[in-house]
Symmetry: C2
Subunit: 153 residues, 2 copies
Amino acid sequence: MPTDETPDIECAVFHLRKTTRTITQLYDEVLRPTGLRSTQYSILRIVSNLGPFTVNELGTTMGMDRTTVTRNVRLLERMGHLRIEPGDDRRTRRVRLSARGRSAVEKTQPYWEQAQAILVGGLGDKRWQKLRNELTAIVNVGRKELDKRADTR
Amino acid sequence: MPTDETPDIECAVFHLRKTTRTITQLYDEVLRPTGLRSTQYSILRIVSNLGPFTVNELGTTMGMDRTTVTRNVRLLERMGHLRIEPGDDRRTRRVRLSARGRSAVEKTQPYWEQAQAILVGGLGDKRWQKLRNELTAIVNVGRKELDKRADTR
DNA sequence: CTTTATTACGTGTATATACTCTCTTTATGC
DNA sequence: GCATAAAGAGAGTATATACACGTAATAAAG
């Protein structure tokens, strides 16, 4: 059962979820030797590039529910990749990369590049850049509506 | 914390997962009165439009692992939306919509249309059509690579 | 300065996801 | 025909995800 064309379905969330499932499987497969899953590497990369973060900030950056961040981050802390320190305020916690986490990101980088090369290579760099922009655009559409609905409540 | 721009990150799987999280939240929010989640409605819709399916076929169509199909379908069976019958072969099972499932799809349709309208309306129909095609394209890129790797093993 | 609202975060629960391993059934080789 | 391979599916386990609810700390109102 090789590559089947996705049938005539308009539903946006269906296409997005199907695509994300498939591409996550690809990245997970390529990253497998590193012991990091796609989401885990994403979190470490984001924290590495833009951190440190509070739990809330990380959630906003990743479009991820706060409580999901808590659990994902806890896992990475147990693996020794992240450190979770008290924040400025006694309510907040500061999530930052550990030395081990930094090393893991470096070691994983070439595998990530390989996966990225397969995908971007298969689509073409220009098309990927455009796609990336469109993804950002619909995130903003969705985010805006969700924020609007949250305000009403 | 309103709509924040996704920072300068190239990683494809990060953008896809972030987008899918956000859009799933939107659809789930709009679908909430119906009691169906995004994935559940997607499965019912697919089975309704293209079914019946074996577990494997449904997995292929949705880019979903076979074992995930088993569990998702079981849930919908317990809700009374799907029926799971023996297939042509004593190995296979046939997944089809029940009368109740058909009714649920119909009742849910206007909510789905509302969510879809928010998204497609926010992006523009032309851009959405293009985006949809690009999503299909990268699914095929990913699928092809995954199949290649599966053959080697 | 006390009451009240807001902010930041965690737990309980349920769905979504996929890999590994195993079982049963069908197809293939000889 | 029988041994072996392949196909279809489920169970065990682990991660990913988010909503409802609860708690502690800070900010705002008076």
